[in-house]
Symmetry: C2
Subunit: 367 residues, 2 copies
């Protein structure tokens, strides 16, 4: 529990230094009081700590503009306390931060983070309905690539997710695929024009901060990213999910093909963000669970279609598929900072293999 280690260390222009245990909603409010806001946050903003987000997450609300957490410039520095006999506090800057970024705390205690923060924007939540998923996805892609429209979130949801979305289920006609947006004030009028041109129906709009501050309301970002699955699981435990990555080329065609291949089991959920120099999306499809063999088959179908799957149902960093963007030699980094392998044991398979024997042997090899 890092929540005791909280608060803003300093704010200098467009950079903030924060303690790792700071709650993200509190942090965003503290920044807003100074005219700034978080560049990126997870759907779990109300409960997440900034350190937990960086160590365990890959992106979130804001990624449609700023890319993933690991994109250069989204994490400027971290302070890490090592798990050595005599702990050291190490400042990692720039590319060196990849040692802890998304490494689930295996490489040390992250105590402080330095992040870019944006001028506060008075965002507007919008929910737009389309007759089918393909039209919703096409509109979302179009909107995500509109460079003149400032945005924070572009999500697409299968019509079958709507019943689980309390703030929207009475406002959106049944059977419609949904696009969820957060747009800057100057973008609202042109976004409405684009919705009309593309034959969408704006079913709901609300100031994001007002929805966030009002106990009777829910900001729409709490229906997106990892919260989508959570909204379903709250009502029905027979579902699970996957995390997928669509290459920019033919992303929409691949989305349609996958949805068609598993019409009864795969409830499409897309989060748009730039990848590989183009606009693409990550999928967090909600899956009607049968058994693990069937889940393997669904994952194999993704693989065959050229869609990467970061399986959230495995324990180690490497098997989850998150290793790619990390330090190229994460186990060696862990040896430097946690020679005895005491942090999050079993989480890093490549380290366990390296160590071979219990902690003592590893420690002897290091010294």
């Amino acid at each position: 529990d890092m929540t005791g280690l909280d608060g803003l260390v300093w704010l200098r222009g467009d950079v903030a230094r924060v303690r790792a245990g700071t709650n993200m909603l509190a942090l965003d409010r503290a920044l807003r009081a100074k005219g700034r806001e978080l560049r990126m946050f997870p759907s779990t903003k109300r409960t997440a700590t900034i350190g937990g987000f960086v160590c365990g997450g890959s992106g979130g609300i804001g990624s449609v503009t700023w890319g993933g957490l690991r994109a250069p410039g989204n994490l400027l520095a971290t302070r890490v306390v090592t798990m050595e006999d005599e702990p050291r506090a190490v400042e990692l800057r720039g590319p060196d931060t990849r040692i802890v970024n998304h490494a689930y705390g295996t490489t040390g205690f992250v105590t402080e983070l330095e992040l870019p923060v944006e001028p506060a924007v008075d965002w507007c939540d919008m929910a737009v309905a389309f007759p089918d998923l393909a039209q919703a996805a096409r509109f979302a892609h179009l909107l995500a690539t509109q460079t003149g429209l400032q945005k924070k979130l572009v999500s697409v949801m299968d019509c079958r997710l709507l019943p689980y979305f309390a703030p929207l289920r009475n406002r959106v006609p049944a059977g419609r695929a949904l696009v969820i947006l957060m747009m800057a004030p100057a973008a609202i009028e042109p976004t409405r024009a684009l919705i009309a041109r593309e034959h969408g129906e704006l079913c709901y709009s609300c100031n994001t901060a007002e929805a966030e501050d009002d106990p009777g309301h829910v900001p729409l970002y709490e229906l997106t990213w990892n919260h989508t699955t959570l909204q379903v699981l709250k009502k029905d435990r027979s579902y699970t999910y996957l995390q997928t990555g669509f290459p920019p080329a033919d992303a929409l065609a691949r989305v349609a093909a996958l949805a068609a291949q598993f019409p009864d089991e795969l409830l499409t959920h897309l989060e748009f963000l730039p990848m590989e120099g183009g606009m693409s999306c990550a999928g967090l499809p909600v899956i009607r669970f049968t058994d693990s063999a069937r889940l393997d088959k669904i994952m194999a179908a993704h693989d065959a279609a050229g869609i990467s799957v970061a399986n959230p149902h495995v324990y180690t960093i490497e098997d989850g598929g998150a290793h790619r963007g990390l330090s190229p030699d994460l186990a060696a980094d862990k040896r430097r900072f946690d020679p005895a392998g005491l942090l999050n044991p079993g989480k890093m398979r490549s380290f366990e293999a390296l160590a071979g024997a219990p902690n003592g042997a590893e420690r002897a090899a290091e010294s």
Copy 2:
């Protein structure tokens, strides 16, 4: 001359309403005093009016992030006074603004504009040298696609342009291709890391606003966009230029092929900006002028390589190639607002053809 019609009408959050004759440097300073800045401006900011920029320009400094002036959301509304017997003031909003956007005043007097304005950023000018043009272009493309780095300008310059660039010529070793950047404060450290990783040499950096305010300095944006050619022409009138557009696919390969095809005549100058959903660039190559037959040959080579040319050496809107993004039926729009064809006569070929006869006949047809 519209410069008497100047000043800010209002500023509400991220939207400003301005009079068309407002000088852009004065406007940007007025906005900065209120914590805002222009989303986009031309290299002629010191002398340009905002109305002139919108009526005659297609993009500029800021386009690497926000795209062209015609991208939805970059111009929210305009007020146009018609050239009818009884002039009307017409408010055009959203997509309707395309009637005047880049139409060179042929469709009416633009008197006011409504534009998104950004939170003011304390930009940093950077000039980075590379051994050759290909490396400079590759770095510029890489930097332009870095979603985590907030930027306002990414330009590439052939080494032979350097002697014409007074602020840089004594700081950059001869023979090096140049990348010119404007970066936000939080992006400076990660940009330096990227420059080092890509073996570039940071030869110059300076706060943009300080360079702009100091009579002894020049902000680097005054070496870019249309000013690049101007810097050359000030010293040598035997040059001319072209305006070209590279499709995102294989943009860098096309740049290299063109440069190789005309090694002695074509001095590459690229401005990076998003196009067709991907990152690409516009070229404003400086051309050593021989005769118009040779210039036609150079343009034909661009055409053969799939690179669009908006020829700045012709008079009419249509022949210049700027018509594509305009109203699909610009001549009909002109009939509505300027039935007698009194504004900028001869500039719109499609209208002249429609009119056929002198002004009287056209007026008769309209009434």
